[in-house]
């Protein structure tokens, strides 16, 4: 591109670098601080930001190992972090798989089949997903309380209940998959139909294998969405061994029991894998975000 560069340009580039460096420093400060705090001995010390003395005590506790304190007493892990992480992963994996299954079939119908009320249903769906679940928490609580009286394994304090509650949030995913299906030419499926495949077989053996990339994107999106979900899980799960990470983590920082160092180790331990997944999936997620943006 023919843009005139001069002396002022060089200064601008330098200024831009300086500005970005300052901003990155501010942005990364909390993330680096928490790593340093997790390696610093004690829960209260306000020592230097770069730890002078490395201690693995918080990491041991986060991994569920007790350790011998300096005064000889045995320090037990305050919370079952690994159990919470497992709960979170279990709930997120199962609900994401179900969400992918449910939204793929629905997206197929919207993209390929003709039926009554199609646009009405689509519009209602998009309208509904503008209302966050946090507004209906009272009702969700009451619904699961009622379900629990008839099927205790599906009521309050059960992971199955939480998974069931998450299955309502499929509108956005149906929208995404439908968009992808519409980019695949219909002719391939029509060939299969000419060869005598049923509708279900065309869907299962022709369209679905071609849609694997988008299914993976939706799985990752649903996984991240459910693993960080807080409001519904905080209402449905109350007992310590049942909690998910998102609900349990805040108990580290209560006024009366402030475990800053232990929290830091648990936060790095549990935050790192989720962040990695997000960064790996970043390309798809970003394209999904902007694509959704253009569509409005």
């Amino acid at each position: 591109m023919a843009i005139v560069t001069g002396n002022s340009q060089r200064w601008r580039v330098l200024a831009a670098h300086a500005f970005l460096w300052i901003l990155i420093a501010i942005t990364l400060f909390p993330l680096l601080a928490v790593i340093s705090i997790s390696l610093r001995p004690g829960n209260f010390s306000t020592g230097t930001l770069i730890p002078t003395e490395i201690s693995l005590e918080h990491w041991k506790l986060a991994l569920g190992i007790s350790y011998q304190a300096a005064d000889g007493s045995l320090v037990e892990p305050p919370f079952p972090v690994l159990k919470w992480l497992w709960n979170s992963i279990k709930i997120a994996t199962i609900s994401s798989l179900l969400i992918v299954a449910i939204s793929t079939t629905a997206a197929y119908a919207f993209a390929r089949l003709k039926f009554q009320f199609k646009s009405t249903i689509l519009n209602t769906m998009l309208l509904l997903q503008m209302f966050p679940a946090v507004l209906a928490l009272v009702a969700i609580y009451a619904i699961f309380d009622t379900i629990g009286t008839y099927a205790p394994w599906l009521g309050i304090e059960t992971h199955a209940g939480v998974i069931l509650a998450y299955l309502g949030g499929v509108a956005m995913h149906i929208w995404t998959i439908r968009g992808y299906f519409e980019t695949i030419p219909v002719e391939i499926e029509e060939c299969a139909k000419v060869d005598g495949a049923t509708q279900w077989q065309t869907f299962r053996y022709v369209l679905l294998p071609m849609a694997v990339p988008i299914l993976m994107v939706v799985f990752v999106l649903a996984f991240i969405g459910t693993i960080v979900e807080y409001p519904v899980a905080s209402v449905l799960l109350r007992e310590e061994p049942n909690l998910t990470l998102a609900v349990g983590s805040k108990y580290y920082l209560l006024e009366q029991r402030y475990l800053w160092g232990d929290f830091a180790a648990a936060a790095v331990l549990s935050g790192l894998p989720i962040t990695m997944v997000f960064l790996i999936a970043q390309k798809w997620i970003v394209s999904g975000l902007t694509a959704g943006g253009v569509k409005g």
């Binding site: 591109m1 023919a2 843009i3 601008r12 580039v13 901003l23 990155i24 942005t27 990364l28 909390p30 993330l31 601080a33 928490v34 209260f44 306000t46 930001l49 449910i102 079939t105 629905a106 197929y108 119908a109 089949l113 249903i121 997903q129 503008m130 209302f131 966050p132 679940a133 946090v134 507004l135 209906a136 928490l137 009272v138 009702a139 009451a142 619904i143 009622t146 008839y150 309502g168 499929v170 509108a171 149906i174 509708q199 077989q201 869907f203 693993i227 960080v228 807080y230 409001p231 805040k250 929290f263 936060a267 962040t275 997000f278 960064l279 975000l289 902007t290 943006g293 253009v294 409005g296």
Partner: protein, 538 residues
Amino acid sequence: MSSLVIHHGLNKFLAKLRWPITIALAMACLYLVFNIYATGQVAWAMGVLLLLAVGFYVYLSKGALSYRYLFPGLAGMAVFVAFPMLYTAQIGFTNYSSAHLLSEDRVRTYLLEQTTPDEARTMDYTLHADGNEFRIVVTSRPATPAPTPTPAPTSASTSAASSPTIQYASPSLALLSAKPPNKTSMLPLDQASFALNPPLPLIEVLKHRNILMQLQLQLPNQTLLNYTGVSEFGPLNPVWKTSNNDSLVLIESGETYRPNRDTGNFENDKGAAIQPGFKVGVGFANYSRMITDPDFRGPFLSIFIWTVMFSGLTVLFTLALGMPLAVLLNWEALPYRTAYRTLLFLPYAVPAFISILVFKGLFNQNFGEINTILQSLFGIKPAWFADPTLAKIAILTVNVWLGYPYIMILCSGLIKAIPADLYEASSIAGASPLTNFFKITAPLIIKPLAPLLITVFAFNFNNFVVIALLTDGRPDYLNTKLPAGTTDILVSYTYRIAFQDSGQNFGLAAAISTVIFFMVAALSMANLKFAKINAENK
């Protein structure tokens, strides 16, 4: 293609089983509906029946082939998104709360099950070891007469004071076995044919307390005695009895308590109410409270204003930070742009519940790293979470940190779509970068950005997580009836009313939620309007 063949064979096999499985499923479903109906929840039973019927129709009828693909998704959305919204609106018109939790019938049943120990006929008991088993001996108290087959409690005090004590003994009971007895019949001790060991000391007796609490003793006259105290067994009398017109009579005083279906309590003539109350419709009471009750209206208004400020300022600040960043990162003269972008994207990649809690710790007044830095630089130690203004600043800081990468990415995508020749023309005209930004970039992206900014505003309007995890709404307003926080936004306030300290007032919380529903709907309408204008201009 071989899997297709196998699949075909499997299909044939399944086709044979189709009807038996369908019928079995239908029976199971009907059984479930019947169970719900049997507990008196007619509305729930009808709802479940409707849902199941639609499900069966969709999967059995040839006409509904397309809906087979749709049913699970639509049913999920109907049950867990649409229905909760309608149900919330309905709860908003009731007094549903921890004090009015059950239906009127369930409360009546509950009250009728309440019992009180019959003091006049209570007996002392002793426990006697008998090998590995035990015998219980109850002794009537000297001042009271022995129970008669048709006891009249009021006559107890008027009877002879010097009646002899009567003792009854149980057969040998296996209290230590895995399934201890829960009922046994007693015989008069003077007719007993066994020798009684000395009674166990109290400390031994207490070891069997949990088992004894489950035990009922039946006297020869059929009176049932229950464990009523550390050393007592006594008959239990019901507290309430039914009366006509659905009312209940308090047996002790003979007073009648009528169900008041406006307030949801059983009340006597003087208006004294019995707890627990029951769930009734209260019309617009929850809504009128928002407008007319001055104790409630004050904090409610402040919270509403803060909610709007919080979401508005978040949009403003994230835009002020995100848009220039997007411009910089699209500036081709700048090296290392990809690295910068990845680093600046990090706040969006770290799970919010973790970064919010990290900030909570960093902002801590005494142990937080932010105050460590501020103290060494300026010698100040602000109390971030004790002062309302500082708490609001902390919340906005955290929320801008969390939110600017999203705006950055959105703007970046929109800037890429601007034709490059516009900038070429402006550079020929000798325009400065600032002129470029204000005359080309900003005007061109603000229109497609507007609906997205409304979405961001609506999201933050209901950004419960940031408030709940960072401040929990604190510091609280003083002198309010319902606890209300200075940093509470409407949704977190609703959550507190429903699930925290203030008596779980679900009805009021649902009413506020309904109001928020309408606000969100208004925002969505504005959003759609902007999107439509954009679409027409294209």
